[in-house]
């Protein structure tokens, strides 16, 4: 790479930083769905308590109580890597919310740069720039980022580098100039990916397996030799030592993370078909817009992808075979539900990795095809046209990405400053891990952020209260209804509060049925500010 390219990369990075942090630039309150709060909680807790965990604090562990069937309650649900990074940024900057969210944003778009490096090294600067810009502006990734499943995006930042180091190692072997350094780099990258999210490792395993088979067929021998066996063994031990402590974190995990039945075999005929799923259009996990490729790419994008695939099949050089292995491995990984290996909602998350692959294929196809043209003038015209076309596409995608991120979680669906202050007050004045019953906030994610920031476990209106054993506090929040001018809502809360104080009981609804929960003590008002009333239950 030329030195000047680092300036281009810096500009691309800063573009990514600007766009992806738009939701947090003007409003420093946390955003996202429930998962966002959960991931934030893990980073936040490490920095706040100045320690890392093997057992997470109870107020986080209660969310998915007893998730790990081997380790039991309050066990780690992921290896600590991704969350610990967030904690480090909170520590170095001294601020609680924004640094973690900036880190989360960076971790979600930084994959554009590993992709740039990979494509640049093998296919040139034009294809690399297109691929990187495409990933930075990926609508699919932006949606998942906004919702909060951010490690699912971050895990794929390693794939291009894994492919590159694998390619360098294998090709050096077949050229009889084996460079084992790339084998060690490959192992460290595999470890790194595993420590972020295991789903990425499963996809990588398939890709590497297929690429190894493809190269072995081409060269009619496996990348094996007497001297290499020693290095393979060292690398296997290295991987096991670095990852083994966390096997139990994944293996013990439950809640439908793995398994299923062989179903929807017709999906194998398509790249990613959802229309034939039984539950369509309510396929769970993600709304239909997540699968809308025209929004993620552009109208007719698949023609360019196909050009890329045809080019690779036509050339079949080592690097082209590597790309084809990546394509085939990705295809297999996003059909694992068909074979009953993983449920659909897990497999559909892997679709995020498709963006990097498709933009790389588009870039390789178009710009490499143009290079094949012998006439200088025609080649220049075609290249200019392709660059102009892709600039236009990226410009449109930029507008969509910017608008989506700028307007994300605006207004009352985001935690307000007053609610943040309330959470801080609770954090300072109420014993951590207390059980607080919440009522009044407009959305569930807002409440979840309240739980995290106050370091307490929150019980939601629609939770089965009996399962949580006890209620220590009751929080009634009028501020959201007041903000949106819902007088009926305010009246309802007022009646609810009076009943709770008078009867020492909570009235709640579970599956449409009205129920009552005896608080077992007198509610005593301990906080009344900004439309929020907090009662301590005196037992």
């Amino acid at each position: 790479m030329k030195h000047e390219e680092y300036i281009l990369l810096t500009l691309l990075f800063l573009l990514g930083l600007f766009i992806w942090t738009l939701p947090i630039q003007d409003n420093p309150m946390p955003f996202g769905e429930g998962d966002s709060a959960w991931h934030f909680a893990n980073s936040d807790a490490m920095a706040q308590y100045d320690t890392t965990f093997w057992r997470i604090p109870e107020y986080i562990g209660m969310w998915y109580y007893d998730f790990n069937k081997i380790l039991g309650p309050n066990a780690l649900e992921y290896p600590p890597t991704w969350h610990l990074n967030g904690a480090l940024f909170q520590i170095i900057s001294g601020q609680r919310v924004v640094p973690i969210f900036v880190y989360m944003a960076i971790s979600c778009f930084i994959g554009a740069f590993s992709l740039y490096f990979f494509v640049r090294k093998l296919y040139g600067i034009e294809a690399a720039t297109l691929a990187a810009a495409g990933v930075i502006l990926s609508y699919k990734s932006i949606m998942v980022y906004l919702w909060g499943q951010r490690p699912s995006i971050a895990v794929f930042i390693f794939t291009p580098l894994i492919l590159y180091s694998f390619y360098k190692f294998v090709t050096s072997f077949y050229e009889n100039k084996t460079k084992v350094i790339y084998l060690y780099i490959l192992s460290l990258l595999i470890v790194g990916q595993f420590l972020i999210h295991v789903m990425g490792s499963i996809q990588t395993f398939l890709i590497i397996l297929l690429c190894t088979i493809i190269f072995a067929i081409k060269y009619k021998k496996l990348p094996l030799s007497k001297t290499l066996i020693k290095h393979y063994l060292i690398n296997i031990i290295l991987i096991i030592v670095l990852t083994a402590p966390f096997y139990v974190v994944y293996i013990g995990g439950s809640v439908g993370a793995i398994g299923g039945e062989i179903s929807h075999v017709e999906r194998l005929l398509y790249w990613f078909d959802i229309k034939h799923l039984d539950e369509y259009p309510n396929i769970g996990g993600a709304p239909l817009i997540f699968y809308d490729n025209q929004k993620n790419y552009f109208l007719g994008y698949f023609i360019f992808v196909i050009i890329g695939v045809i080019y690779l099949l036509f050339k079949r050089e080592d690097k082209d075979l590597l790309m084809l292995g990546w394509l085939a491995g990705t295809y297999l990984s996003i059909h694992m539900d068909v074979f009953g290996l993983f449920p659909f909602h897990r497999v559909s998350r892997l679709l995020i990795s498709e963006t990097a692959l498709f933009y790389a294929l588009m870039g390789i196809g178009v710009f490499s095809f143009i290079k094949l043209i012998k006439s200088d003038s025609i080649r220049m015209i075609l290249k200019g046209t392709a660059i102009a076309f892709f600039i236009m596409v990226l410009f449109i995608n930029f507008g969509l990405a910017k608008d989506t991120l700028r307007d994300a979680y605006d207004g009352p669906i985001r935690l307000t400053e007053n609610q943040y202050k309330t959470a801080e007050w609770i954090e300072k004045n109420v014993p951590h891990n207390s059980h607080i019953y919440y009522i009044g906030q407009l959305t569930y994610p807002k409440q979840r952020f309240m739980y995290v920031l106050s370091k307490s476990f929150g019980i939601y209106q629609q939770d089965p209260i009996e399962e949580y054993h006890h209620i220590d506090y009751v929080l009634i929040d009028y501020s959201d209804f007041a903000m949106v001018g819902n007088t009926n809502g305010i009246q309802f809360l007022n009646v609810w509060e009076q009943y709770m104080v008078r009867e020492q009981k909570i009235r709640y609804y579970l599956k449409g049925e009205q129920k009552f929960y005896d608080l077992g003590g007198e509610p005593n008002l301990i906080y009344k500010e900004n439309g929020v009333n907090l009662y301590k239950i005196l037992k």
């Binding site: 890597t81 480090l88 170095i92 900057s93 590993s114 990258l189």
Partner: protein, 114 residues
């Protein structure tokens, strides 16, 4: 005359650009986040990956991305022994520098022997 820009100039330009944008977006906190990025994911680049027989751009990219996953793991392991995350982070950074210096010395010795 062909003008060639050296890597130090490029480094200064990139860092200046990044500093300006981070501060513009997030003020002093932005600067500290950038500092964190350089420290947590850059220090292994300078001290360890620079000693490896790789191309310069490979050192940069591998160093950054491997540090992204393995630096926090190093901190996590240190924190098993040292009960403060802040102190563990500092120790992890020092460990990387020490390992890098040992590698550098070893490499110099090998080069001298050749």
């Amino acid at each position: 005359m062909k003008y060639e820009i050296n890597y130090k100039t490029v480094f200064v330009i990139c860092l200046t650009l990044a500093t300006i944008v981070f501060i513009w977006l997030f003020g002093l906190m932005g600067f500290l986040i950038l500092l964190g990025l350089c420290l947590f994911y850059g220090i292994a680049n300078i001290f360890i990956f620079n000693q490896l027989p790789l191309e310069p751009d490979e050192k940069f990219f591998f160093g950054f991305f491997i540090s992204f996953a393995l630096f926090p793991m190093l901190v996590w392991y240190v924190n098993r022994l040292i009960p403060s995350l802040r102190i563990s982070t500092v120790i992890a950074l020092i460990l990387i520098v020490v390992v890098g210096l040992i590698m550098k010395r070893k490499k110099k010795k090998e080069d001298d022997e050749k």
